[in-house]
Symmetry: C2
Subunit: 182 residues, 2 copies
């Protein structure tokens, strides 16, 4: 942030009175501009024993496979957001949704909220952000071609939980890891 | 938002190309300004069979009792945010934290994430946003003096779950309700 979104003046980076950390503060109208973590909501959509994945048509991770997910919008619930993203990316309607998995990803100031669901009538397509969508059985998952660490971890847990048909809601934190070269 | 935080020009309210809803868009530098829901993280702190509540020293609901909670900050986890808020509002250290309750509150574009925890050494005080903090047994809770619907619902569930010592993680949505007069 360079300019105050309220009055257009240049903002200053400083610790406001009574607070303990730097914020963008407007010297003209005195607005303090708070920036907070964002929520990514998404689905693990199933048809029978298969999971629906989308091949990304956008960066980052163009061409890699992912679960339908995206930024939560104002005035919706996490469940509504997850269903909306599934429609936008996989042209599939989510039914029988259950909260399943929460990840904190503090180094990018994001919180992931994922729901298990079924695909209405088993019908799906590919939205504008997807090259294609496809159903994968557990032994067909393209593990080396998955887009994000949260997707890998969630799918592993999902198949593990499915053995006992017990899907407890879990939360954990994904910390930044340097990629190893070679 | 009236002015672009990137270049200072006046923003326009319109639907960006390829999107389905209005955003604040800068006609000068073409930045699309996304506004997303915020996360409130907090605790249900216990000492023995009592719950620690804080009396609010700030609006809204000045003078009403609440659980320590507040806006999640960038680069922290929901758990770290909940512990930070408990320190700031009740001068108490959270230990043995477990995710407990998620509320979607879409009409104000907020998601509440609450942890159960114990108070380290049973020590607490009152931070700058609290008039006082106090331990309450179940039959002492000032139900008519609680600050927010989420606090009432969470405490009721907590005492119910405590009977069986089973505290499943739950999520639900709180919709807007007109207050009844009289």
């Amino acid at each position: 942030m360079k300019f105050c979104s309220n009055c257009g003046a240049e903002v200053e980076r400083r610790i406001p009175e009574g607070e303990d950390r730097e914020r963008d503060v407007c010297p003209a109208c005195h607005t303090i501009h708070y920036v907070n973590p964002k929520i990514i909501c998404g689905c693990i959509p199933t048809v029978g024993d298969k999971v629906l994945l989308c091949k990304r048509a956008i960066e980052p991770r163009y061409g890699k496979w992912t679960l339908p997910a995206g930024f939560m919008e104002n005035r919706e619930t996490t469940e509504e957001g997850a269903a909306r993203e599934m429609w936008e990316e996989a042209e599939a309607r989510a039914v029988d949704m259950s909260l399943y998995r929460i990840f904190d990803v503090p180094h990018i100031s994001q919180v992931y909220v994922f729901y298990r669901c079924e695909v209405l009538d088993g019908e799906f397509g590919a939205g504008s952000e997807s090259l294609e969508s496809k159903l994968y059985a557990e032994d067909e998952i393209p593990w080396d071609e998955l887009a994000f660490p949260v997707v890998i971890e969630m799918l592993r847990e999902f198949f593990e939980d499915r053995k006992t048909q017990d899907f407890p809601i879990r939360n954990s934190t994904i910390r930044y890891q340097h990629r190893r070269s070679g």
